[in-house]
């Protein structure tokens, strides 16, 4: 495995920025002695970030009461939804049981968080249970605001040329029904993205590229027209990636319109209405992919933990971008999609965020300051057709942060990147959940 050995060393040379985070993260598993404590650590949400945090903490502390709160029994491997929505994987591919991933000794409360009171250090569930804490980790992910799109509801997915793959495995499977119908009939396919922050900002592009490719091989063939409706002036938030996508769109003859934010649909007549700087614009479609606006879950928005002056319509938690510690309540941390940091709403980011958060929390238990630092690592393998993808990895500063510099070129459409997405990503994700990666 000379390639694997060489990669971390090469990265340290190439990317001084990433090196600090890497070294800190690499050092963590080596600290053999768990820290003794009787602290009550409460983790809200048992998704990618919550489970990873529970497993890493269980190894680092001894005697703590670690409690997770999440009503959902099944765990979703969400990066797989893009593959389910294009018929490449079955629904079951993304599903597992939450309890399967939990370390021994942690308590799972299968109730929904109803309220968070950071002043009283108390969380209340929908069943009326009150949970006190010494440290709180908010990992509630995000909520899809379906109602923000007039005329849209999730039970319509799969009919009348309507797709929406973000809601879960059933929605993704029904999206595939709409996509396969489009691949036979052809016509105009329109792809949207919300004007809010969103998880995996590459997913709307992936879906666009995949549907184009599948339709090009289907009966639709030349009778297809593809239109990407961007919410702002860019195709992706990182300029160099946006430029690359623009070039790919040109070669694939995929059209793009800018400053188009979906606000309403008329499913029966297949008309989508977009808010634009010039007023509302109606576009008729044969296939439409909807991604609703995304916000912090309601209990977070009502808790007083959100930023007061940024993302005010979305409510992400006000944390320091490098330590993920709350700026006003030092015993509170936020990791995963709910954290109020620029970028970072991917499972790959969770993998880099959690060790940093754990370092600061464990340091606090010992009465010192943590040293690990998160620099915004975010990654989303951008599928450009069935069989090829580009590794897109970047940080807060819009720098590319390639994992395999000199071996796997970023921003290049490669088969090996597709193999990574199709084969290696899910095991990597599951190893992360267990705290092994």
């Amino acid at each position: 495995m000379t390639e694997a050995d060489a990669a971390p060393a090469a990265r340290r040379r190439f990317l001084g920025l990433a090196a600090a985070a890497l070294a800190a993260a690499a050092a963590a598993p080596l600290e053999a002695q768990p820290v003794g404590t009787s602290a009550r650590i409460l983790i809200l949400g048992a998704g990618a970030a919550g489970i990873t945090a529970a497993n890493q903490l269980a190894r680092r502390v001894e005697g703590a009461a670690i409690t997770l709160v999440d009503p959902r029994r099944e765990h979703l491997y969400q990066p797989g939804l893009s593959l389910v929505a294009t018929g490449l994987k079955p629904e079951g591919y993304v599903l597992s049981r939450t309890r399967e991933w939990l370390p021994a000794g942690v308590t799972l409360v299968e109730e929904a968080v109803a309220a968070i009171d950071p002043e009283a250090r108390r969380v209340t569930t929908d069943a009326g249970r009150a949970l006190g804490y010494d440290f709180l980790i908010v990992a509630l992910g995000l909520a899809l605001d379906d109602d923000a799109i007039e005329g849209f509801s999730r039970d319509m997915i799969g009919t009348n040329g309507l797709g929406a793959l973000y809601g879960g495995p059933q929605d993704a499977a029904r999206t595939w029904a709409a996509v396969s119908a489009y691949a036979e009939k052809g016509g105009l396919a329109v792809f949207t993205r919300p004007a809010t922050e969103m998880k995996c900002a590459g997913a709307p592009l992936k879906h666009c590229f995949l549907v184009d490719d599948i339709a090009s091989r289907g009966a639709a063939g030349a009778r297809r027209e593809i239109l990407y409706a961007a919410n702002n002036k860019a195709l992706f938030s990182v300029p160099i990636v946006s430029e690359k996508v623009r070039m790919l769109f040109e070669t694939r003859r995929i059209g793009a319109v800018h400053d188009h934010v979906l606000k309403a649909i008329e499913p029966g007549r297949r008309i989508a209405t977009f808010a634009t700087p010039e007023g509302d614009v109606e576009i008729g479609y044969d296939y439409l992919h909807v991604i609703p606006p995304q916000r912090a879950p309601r209990p977070v928005r009502e808790s007083g933990l959100s930023w007061a002056d940024r993302w005010t319509d979305q409510g992400w938690v006000e944390v320091d971008p490098h330590s993920l510690r709350h700026r006003r309540y030092p015993e509170v941390f936020a990791v995963g999609d709910v954290a109020g940091v620029p970028k970072g709403k991917t499972a790959a980011s969770v993998k880099w965020q959690v060790p940093v958060m754990v370092d600061h929390l464990v340091a606090a238990l010992q009465g010192r300051e943590g040293t690990a630092r998160y620099d915004g690592y975010t990654s989303c393998p951008l599928i450009t057709r069935v069989g090829r993808a580009m590794l897109v990895e970047f940080d807060y500063a819009n720098n590319l942060a390639p994992s395999f510099p000199g071996v796997i070129a970023p921003l290049e459409e490669l088969w090996i990147s597709w193999l990574i997405k199709e084969l290696a990503l899910k095991p990597t994700y599951l190893a992360m959940l267990r705290g092994d990666a």
């Binding site: 069989g387 994992s403 290049e412 088969w415 597709w418 084969l423 899910k426 095991p427 190893a431 092994d436």
Partner: protein, 118 residues
Amino acid sequence: MKDLTLGMVIAVWEEMFGPALFWGMAGAAAVVTLLYLYVLIRDRRVSWRKFLLAQLAMPFGAAAAVGFVWRITHSGLRDVGGPVDVIVLMGVAAAGAVGAAVLVYTAQSLVRRPAAEE
């Protein structure tokens, strides 16, 4: 991806084929390798006639391995996009070729004793 450990590489393979098929194949490969070593030690020499036939099996092994990888990953030759892809493809083909050669050589040696050959 932050680091690559043997455990993770094994997890990747388990995911690719499912644990049962993966460990079955790994077990089969280990058994064939051990048998190959066994016949080499037993016969104390390489039989060039058997080796010739084994060589003829190599292209078939290479093609089978590449075809297998393409099938399980919904991809094909047209997806090769850069030098690293060519290297990966050649690696898969080489592994298939060597595997087929070892398998054919070992099978011949087990079926026919060296005395029967000359």
